[in-house]
């Protein structure tokens, strides 16, 4: 929020700087009208005030990052796990008294933030690669990595009549304009969709119809808004209470693609935070596994 306001003001000043001298110059040819109306429209944030405002905003933006007492666990969570995490955090607080400060983001961005010193105790990634990498780089505590959830890939359409019968036949028929997937280079679900299509021998024939979301959230959005008739998305998204159209779906059997395993890891900063270790224990408890499963993930107890 603060960022967008200061950005807007900066943009405002930028526009002003472009127009004002131009108008000043041109008005030399027409001194009669004293035409600085365009400039005066830009008069609102005076530079001195604005400077103070920006500093204030910068300070405000920096505040929350510092306030994390010992019984608070700062958790960086992959965006696809948002709703489950909200459900889990209530139970965790009830059971242990500790509270969670949760930051959601794409696994890649969270990784980059952690690698650059972001203050997190625990990292729940959407893949296995990033937690492993953090461990190798000495930013995570060795021996604390484990798979907390396994994603389920589904071919989904909000229309009840689309994904019925033989999914392979449906894909072969190509009777649709667009098939949405997450970007295979960026997102584990995209990778799994790629492997599935490759396994069916349809990757190259369907290539012109593929639209790629930068993450699985965007792939879902393409289908949910009707821009793509169907897409490979996450079961958790289709099962989410926020999804109003259950539609029709095919759960891709897991042997068709490499598993979409999501790993958690204790970060160096959380090494001596007892609440952080308590949270990781809580995450593996049968109650938590039940919740995770109910949201559309496979869990190790399955």
């Amino acid at each position: 929020m603060a960022e967008s306001i200061s950005f807007t003001i900066l943009r405002w000043r930028f526009m002003k700087s472009l127009y004002c001298f131009e108008i000043d110059d041109v008005s030399r040819y027409k001194p009669s009208r004293g035409d600085d109306s365009v400039c005066s429209a830009f008069a609102f944030p005076r530079p001195a005030h604005m400077f103070r405002l920006i500093i204030l905003m910068a300070l405000l933006a920096g505040l929350p990052a510092k306030a994390a007492p010992a019984d608070t666990v700062a958790v960086a969570v992959a965006a696809n796990f948002t709703e489950v995490m909200e459900a889990l955090s209530e139970g965790f607080k009830e059971r242990t008294g500790h509270s969670l400060r949760i930051s959601f983001g794409s696994t890649g961005k969270l990784y980059a933030q952690i690698a650059n010193g972001a203050p997190f105790d625990v990292f729940l990634a959407a893949d296995q690669a990033r937690p492993l990498r953090l461990e190798k780089e000495g930013l995570a505590v060795p021996g604390t990595r484990f798979t907390y959830a396994e994603g389920v890939l589904v071919l989904w359409s909000p229309d009840k009549t689309v994904v019925t019968g033989q999914p392979k036949k449906l894909l072969e028929s190509a009777e649709f304009r667009h098939l949405a997937i997450a970007n295979p280079d960026l997102a584990p679900y995209g990778r799994a969709a790629y492997e599935t299509l490759k396994g069916l021998g349809l990757w190259s024939s369907l290539a012109p119809k593929l639209v790629r979301g930068q993450n699985i959230g965007q792939a879902f959005q393409f289908v949910a808004t009707g821009n793509a008739e169907l897409g490979f998305v996450a079961l958790s998204q289709v099962m989410s209470p926020r999804n109003t159209a259950p539609g029709s779906r095919w759960e891709v059997p897991s042997p068709q693609h490499g598993p979409i395993q999501q790993d958690a890891v204790l970060l160096k900063r959380g090494d001596d935070n007892a609440a952080a270790r308590a949270f990781l224990r809580f995450l593996r408890s049968p109650d938590s596994l039940r919740i995770i499963h109910a949201f559309g993930y496979r869990v190790s107890a399955d």
Partner: protein, 224 residues
């Protein structure tokens, strides 16, 4: 090391088409805004300035809904062309036109206001038609406004990310513009390719702004 420069070409094409469309659309709009006494003026001005303050995601989200096959514009487009507007180059042009609108309209409006009514009215009294007066008198006098508008519109479209991300679908050769390609390179830790594309974009945008500022400062307007 293999860097695909395709997105760079696509981006330039998008920016060129967008600016061409914008200059045609914005001229009458800016002219009207510069000279009208209508009570609607602040409303239209505010509407034009909206893309300045809205996050591109808001714009992109509404465009995704409107241009989708279930949206009003999108449905019409599907019956017309048989294809969806989202995930197409035409869709990107429409999105970019809306996104860069204030960057073209506002400099033009400023320039037309600075020219004022007087030269035009003088031309009318000398027997010039309205169109003739505009093209022979007003638009040459507003020449620098046109330069600023074109360059800003072009540069702003080059830097577009959020809107394209939402409505483009990242299709190589069709909607994968340079900002998306850079994002992808960064996310996949392919920093070398990201550097090459980013440095190109950075250098170009800087050069464009230097040109605008220099031209604005140095050259007087040769009126009429």
């Amino acid at each position: 090391m293999d860097v695909d420069f395709g997105p760079l070409g696509l981006t330039f094409k998008l920016a060129l088409v967008t600016v061409a469309v914008l200059l045609v659309l914005s001229t009458p709009l800016a002219w009207w805004l510069a000279h009208t006494r209508s009570r609607l003026k602040p409303v239209i001005e505010a509407a034009v300035a909206m893309p300045l303050v809205l996050p591109p995601t808001v714009l992109g989200f509404y465009l995704l809904v409107l241009m989708g096959p279930n949206g009003s514009i999108g449905a019409w487009w599907v019956t017309l062309t048989g294809d969806t507007l989202t995930f197409s180059f035409s869709g990107l042009v429409i999105a970019s036109v809306i996104y860069s609108l204030p960057f073209v309209v506002q400099p033009l409006q400023g320039a037309f206001e600075a020219v004022g009514r007087r030269p035009i009215e003088a031309a009318w009294t000398l027997g010039a038609s309205k169109l003739d007066a505009f093209f022979s008198v007003a638009s040459p006098m507003a020449g620098r406004g046109y330069l600023t508008a074109a360059v800003l519109g072009f540069a702003h479209t080059l830097g577009e990310f959020g809107v394209v991300l939402l409505v483009g679908g990242n299709i190589p050769g069709v909607t994968k513009v340079v900002s998306i390609a850079i994002y992808e390179h960064v996310e996949t830790l392919n920093y070398e390719a990201a550097h090459m594309l980013s440095a190109g974009l950075l250098g170009f945008s800087f050069a464009v702004l230097v040109v605008v500022y220099a031209v604005n400062r140095r050259f007087p307007v040769h009126a009429g």
